[in-house]
């Protein structure tokens, strides 16, 4: 991102905005699809996320990568959307021991294509899905998740563990179905 292009973005020049949108729409749309309950919510998240990016372009100080900056702004907007629109399902649950016998291996994940894995993630219950996305894919720590979602850190850990168990179970079941077919 050179300074001339950045200046055009700051002034919200239509061509510069369209170029930015085309460059990052696939990446950011995949984030929306992971967090959203449905396609309509994913579209709304995209719209709000991009508006937040264009509104905060001026705050980028050329420290760190530009892609990292807009991804941060975008995810924060998505999380705000989640907090505003999704009912809190974060109940404090008792931590359950993971059934090590049913742990998936790396091959099972790599055997799945993107859409199949995304489908498994989207099928997770709402609260589990949000925590799972933030921890496992977007790299947030449990303490950060607890702050953003206004839950306890222990709740974040237990939500993630439950999400992983359900995901593992679903992936293994679909593997068995594929083998039988």
């Amino acid at each position: 991102m050179n300074k001339a292009s950045f200046q055009k973005l700051k002034e919200l020049e239509p061509d510069a905005c369209k170029t930015l949108y085309d460059k990052y729409k696939v990446l950011l749309y995949s984030i929306c699809r992971r967090y959203a309950s449905n396609e309509g919510d994913a579209q709304d998240m995209m719209q709000e996320g991009f508006m937040a990016i264009f509104n905060s372009i001026g705050k980028y100080k050329f420290q760190g990568s530009f892609e990292g900056y807009i991804k941060r702004v975008f995810i924060n907007t998505v999380l705000n959307f989640v907090r505003k629109n999704y009912q809190q399902l974060y109940k404090t649950e008792s931590w359950q021991m993971v059934n090590h016998d049913s742990e998936i291996n790396a091959a099972a994940i790599s055997n799945l294509n993107y859409e199949e894995l995304l489908s498994h993630v989207q099928n997770l219950p709402e609260g589990y899905r949000i925590v799972f996305n933030m921890y496992a894919i977007d790299g947030y720590k449990h303490r950060e998740i607890a702050t953003v979602l206004r839950i306890k850190e222990s709740t974040s850990r237990s939500q993630y563990t439950r999400a992983k168990q359900i995901l593992q179970k679903n992936i293994l079941e679909s593997e068995k179905i594929n083998i039988n077919e």
């Binding site: 729409k25 749309y29 699809r33 992971r34 719209q47 790396a106 790599s110 294509n113 921890y135 894919i137």
Partner: protein, 432 residues
């Protein structure tokens, strides 16, 4: 598999996503960006064309008034008039010349005594000076005979310098000095015999005295009459005005609005007053819709899902919005001349009882769709910055005219629009 490997595998797989959002998503984002671009343009225009000049005007005026030096008040007319005097008669008059510093001290008196020969002199001029420097010139012309003139000088603040200056003037003009004494301060009286003096012509800046009374034998102290521009403290006012405005919506379409207001004001400072009132505002427009930007810039259309589905078919939008207002204002008054006053006003018109009718016409010829909404809550309304001028007409009554800039910081009406505009108003105000 350890948790860290699991997460790494998930991140790698999730990064393979290639799904694209729908093509109409960019249209919606672009529409919202168009609205923001228009709002930014309006904001920049407002800052440059209105706020900056207003700031310079207010700042410059404040600077001027703070640094303004006190002026000397000059009495333009003599208080007591000297009558026409026959030759050989004597007349005396006292006049006061007071400068600002000495008003409270009472000042000193000038005694002017003139003896004239029998031939009539209808006009005589005497020197009046407004500061303590003393100079007078007498020109000798013609033949009059003996003419005795007594002049008393006024010393505003007698200082050693002014007294020595007076003494040298007395010596130079062959005057005889004599103390009169008044107000506990000393004054000097000098007499001079003038020969062959007809007429007594002095310099043009000297004050003309009309002689009206014969032989005034008693000295009468003139009363000081100083006119000062001032305002009545605890001054109330009541006013009514009517305004017409042109409002710009975010996509550069224009709407017309009218305002009518009744206001009560209170002047609590020489330059400041506050006001409150009741008003009515009426906004009408009739737009032809010719791009998706128009539709996109209408905000909260989710209130009417049936409209949202039809939006691409909309050809024309007519709107009638009206509401009552509670204007609250702060005014800064700047005297331009003795009678004309300029006023800078910051005004907030709170809105209540909004009533809006919107009529949509469609390209496909479908029947027009009407939405009506009323809102009885008190809303922030709009802000007005006004430059006004008022001029007195008769006792207490002033005519006003003003030019204003209207801004909304919160959306109004069904279509949730921001709008800004310019306007003018005229009215009457009564101060009591």
């Amino acid at each position: 598999m350890s948790d860290s490997f699991f997460r790494k595998a998930m991140q790698e797989k999730m990064g393979e996503g290639a799904a694209q959002p729908g093509s109409d998503l960019w249209d919606e984002i672009n529409g919202a960006l168009a609205q923001k671009r228009a709002a930014n343009k309006k904001k920049n225009r407002f800052l440059l064309c209105w706020l900056l000049p207003m700031f310079l005007l207010v700042g410059g005026s404040l600077f001027y008034f703070i640094n303004k030096k006190s002026e000397t008040t000059i009495i333009e007319k003599p208080i007591v008039e000297i009558p026409n005097v026959e030759m050989g008669g004597t007349s005396k008059v006292q006049m006061q010349v007071i400068d600002n510093q000495n008003i409270s001290k009472g000042g000193k008196q000038i005694l002017v005594e003139k003896k004239q020969p029998k031939s009539k002199i209808s006009k005589t001029k005497f020197p009046i000076k407004t500061n303590s420097s003393i100079s007078s010139k007498f020109q000798k012309q013609g033949q009059l005979g003996n003419l005795a003139t007594t002049v008393t000088w006024h010393l505003g603040n007698p200082t050693p310098n002014s007294i020595s200056q007076l003494n040298s003037e007395i010596e130079k003009n062959n005057f005889t000095a004599k103390e009169l004494g008044n107000n506990g301060n000393s004054a000097m009286m000098a007499t001079r015999q003038l020969d062959n003096f007809l007429p007594l012509v002095l310099e043009p800046q000297l004050l003309e005295v009309n002689v009206v009374q014969p032989e005034i034998t008693e000295l009468k102290i003139a009363k000081t009459v100083i006119e000062k521009e001032d305002f009545k403290k605890q001054n109330f006012s009541i006013g009514i005005n009517y305004g017409i405005n042109q409002l710009e919506y975010c996509f550069d379409e224009k709407a017309n609005s009218e305002t009518a207001q009744l206001k009560i004001g209170y002047r609590f400072h020489k330059y400041l007053s506050a006001g409150i009132g009741l008003g009515f505002h009426n906004v009408n427009y009739d737009f032809e819709v010719n791009s998706s930007d128009h539709i996109a810039s209408f905000g909260d259309t989710d209130k009417y899902p049936s409209f949202y589905k039809l939006k691409n078919d909309v050809a024309q939008i007519e709107s009638r919005l009206s509401y009552f207002t509670l204007p609250v204002s702060l005014n800064f008054h700047l005297p331009v001349t003795k009678q004309l006053t300029a006023t800078l006003t910051a005004n907030q018109d709170l809105a209540y009882n909004q009533d809006q009718l919107m009529i949509y016409s469609f390209k496909s010829g479908t029947d027009d769709l009407e939405f009506r909404e009323t809102n009885s809550k008190l809303d922030l309304g709009f802000t007005t910055f006004r430059l006004g001028f008022d001029y007195p007409m008769m006792d207490g009554l002033r005519a006003e005219v003003g030019f204003n800039r209207i801004i909304t910081f919160q959306t109004l009406g069904i279509e949730s629009q921001y709008y800004h505009g310019f306007g003018g108003d005229f009215g009457l105000r009564y101060d009591f």
